[in-house]
Symmetry: C2
Subunit: 177 residues, 2 copies
Amino acid sequence: MGKKRVAVVIAENFEDVEVTAPVEALEAAGADVVLIGIESGSVKGKKGAVLDTDTTFDQLPADAIDSFDMLVIPGGGAPENLRIVDAAVDFTRRFVDSGKPVASICHGPQLLISAEVLKGRKTTSVNKIRDDIKNAGGLYEDAPLVVDGNLISSRTPRDMDVFNQAIVDALGAVGAQ
Amino acid sequence: MGKKRVAVVIAENFEDVEVTAPVEALEAAGADVVLIGIESGSVKGKKGAVLDTDTTFDQLPADAIDSFDMLVIPGGGAPENLRIVDAAVDFTRRFVDSGKPVASICHGPQLLISAEVLKGRKTTSVNKIRDDIKNAGGLYEDAPLVVDGNLISSRTPRDMDVFNQAIVDALGAVGAQ
């Protein structure tokens, strides 16, 4: 079996550490990380980080999800930029439906709300969007880590360590049976 | 009759021009503007403006709404900071229920969502929160200005002129019958 592949979706105003820390943890665990953006080129984080996207939603082949083992949705202002792009919303919806792990942190669930995949699912997030999660049918929980089936979520950068451990463990479990 | 009084609610990361331009327009129309914040002291905008709050939600008397003629909810990151403060949410809900004009722009409706006052009401906003408005039962419209009863809304700073004219007109109409 080859290396595990993880899709990390980014857009302008991503919360820097919510991208860089999971990417570092996943690569340290031996995974290939693919940064997917709305457009080609570089994307700026809220705190000044600049990252180059590896590909865009439009460039992905129709069966792209088959080639990924996990989706990570960092927070900041990125999710609200991603959620108004149909290709990003469709990709997210199909990833959740695939049953493979989908991890979100902070404002990440804004993309899950627009993908309409939270109904009856336990999720956490930064508390500033908790009412939106509830209105989307999600079951909001205020905890450092919430796991419900293939949905993994944390609240803020304060939960970074437990989040990173959870996504590395979940990736390790993919295809392990 | 004395001067009309307008409550403008602010918090960290407000969208600068969405506070300063309406305040300027309202004051030019002869209104007293009261900046209400979560805490006493100064508050920073996203683009660097620094404003001093005139009062806080906690300092307002129980019948404070009687002394105001209109509520304005600017956008940026402020509404998501206000929506997790019970006193701000209660103030907003009671203001909408009072029937007096309540104007929002950009991310402003995030506060209206948490106040649970959008059910069946036509509202616009920045498109990044349109799905949250719909999930809150609001009827989202993509237009420079949407007026539904006492709710007045615009999308972004691009709509600033029509928004300012609408709130000045609405304030002029208060008590005019």
